[in-house]
Amino acid sequence: MSKVIKILGTGCPKCQSMTAVVKDVVAANNIDATIEKVEDIMEIMKFNIMTTPALVIDNVIKIKGRVPSKEEVLALLN
């Protein structure tokens, strides 16, 4: 089943690095997933997080406030 990945962040450098990491992992491993960047603060606050960037996979918050490594993202997606 296709996974829905959301990256929450208002566009700060850290959020961009997270997006880059996730895109790399998805492309390199042929993972069936859609990546959505959520930049609107009102949408972000619906997840009630306090630190950005945050990684949400299938509506579960997996990581918040830091940029994960590729290995970690891969582990979360499998």
């Binding site: 962040g9 208002t10 566009g11 700060c12 450098p13 850290k14 959020c15 690095s17 603060i41 009102m42 972000i44 606050m45 619906k46 997840f47 009630n48 997080i49 306090m50 630190t51 950005t52 949400v56 509506n59 579960v60 918050i61 997996k62 990581i63 918040k64 406030g65 830091r66 940029v67 994960p68 490594s69 970690e72």
Partner: protein
């Protein structure tokens, strides 16, 4: 502690480049090399330490703690201290703000956090330590925390909740539950590479500002005559502090770029208190921050917030100049 760096700078400029130590160019270049190396080492070290603190800082627990306990006014102080120890990222300030208010923390206590967080941050501390030494750094950090405590308490007394943005008020009304969250399980050794990379990213991000700031500072050191600023800013006239602060509020100089320039001002005769006040107004209040806050506050609330803090910084400038 940094003697060996001075030797490197001396060797590089006077021996390798063969520029005489007595020339203005020699003094400036030596200063530039020494300061750049020293600051970069300090910067990486402190940012790295803060990265570790950040990785383990229990922000959710803090939120619950500030909310539940009756702290007899100390909550403003705690909130300001937490603002100081959490590394600041301007993009997190709005989510943090809403998270706090939503968690039932009074607006004033939230403001304490919001004031101190950009004011006392790892880059500013590293730069201060490198350029002014331990004593000035402590004064800066402690007064940043006191400023947050008092500023938050004052703003709390003003009952400003009605001036929040409509959508924030709506969020406050129907308390939301947090989306499902899986606790992260990662060991320290797993996180260390990531923390190191994060620290390096921050240092790399401010590298250019550090170099430009130190270059300007170095050039001024060599070419601006001693006591030059005394005639304009350093004479201790009472209006120099408000002037410096008001000039600084709209400026958005990265702490990394502004501190080396301030250091020269002080070396050439500007009182340290005026310089610290200038620095606080530059990093603590800025147009980009106001733009971010615009999403959660009305313009009037931002104006009150900035006004109260500006006045508080001016007063602390006076105080520093009296006691230092």
């Amino acid at each position: 502690m940094f003697d060996w760096l001075q030797h490197i700078a001396d060797w590089l400029i006077y021996s390798v480049f063969g520029i005489a130590a007595e020339t203005k160019l020699g003094t400036s270049l030596n200063f530039f090399v020494y300061d750049t190396l020293k600051i970069l080492i300090l910067l990486f070290f402190i940012v790295f330490l803060m990265g570790i603190v950040n990785a383990y800082f229990p922000i959710e627990k803090l939120k619950n703690y500030l909310n539940k306990k009756k702290l007899y006014g100390l909550e403003y102080f705690f909130s300001a201290v937490f603002g100081a120890v959490t590394p600041f990222c301007s993009c997190s300030s709005v989510p943090l703000f809403i998270g706090f208010v939503q968690g039932g923390i009074p607006l004033g206590v939230t403001f304490s956090f919001l004031i101190t967080s950009p004011l006392v941050n790892e880059v500013a501390i590293a730069m201060f330590l490198g350029m002014f030494g331990v004593k000035a750094t402590l004064i800066y950090a402690v007064s940043g925390i006191l400023l947050g405590t008092i500023g938050g308490w004052l703003l709390g007394k003003l009952n400003l909740e009605p001036l929040l943005s409509d959508w924030v008020k709506k969020i406050l009304d129907n308390k939301m539950k947090q989306a499902e969250y899986e606790e992260e399980k990662q060991t320290f050794s797993q996180r260390l590479p990531e923390i190191t990379r994060g620290a390096w990213d921050i240092v790399r991000g401010v590298l250019l500002y550090v170099i430009i700031g130190i270059a300007i500072g170095a050039a001024m050191h060599g070419y601006v005559p001693e006591n030059f600023f005394n005639q304009y800013l350093g004479g201790g006239e009472w209006w120099t502090v408000p002037l410096a602060v008001i000039l600084a509020v709209p400026m958005y100089a990265n702490a990394a770029g502004i501190v080396p320039v301030i250091e020269v001002f002080v070396a050439k005769g500007v009182p340290l208190g005026t310089a610290i006040a200038f620095m606080m107004a530059t990093v603590g209040l800025s147009i980009p921050e106001a733009t971010l806050l615009k999403k959660v506050m009305s313009l009037r609330l931002i104006a009150i917030f900035f006004g109260v803090i500006t006045i508080a910084i001016i007063f602390s400038g006076f105080l520093f100049n009296m006691i230092l």
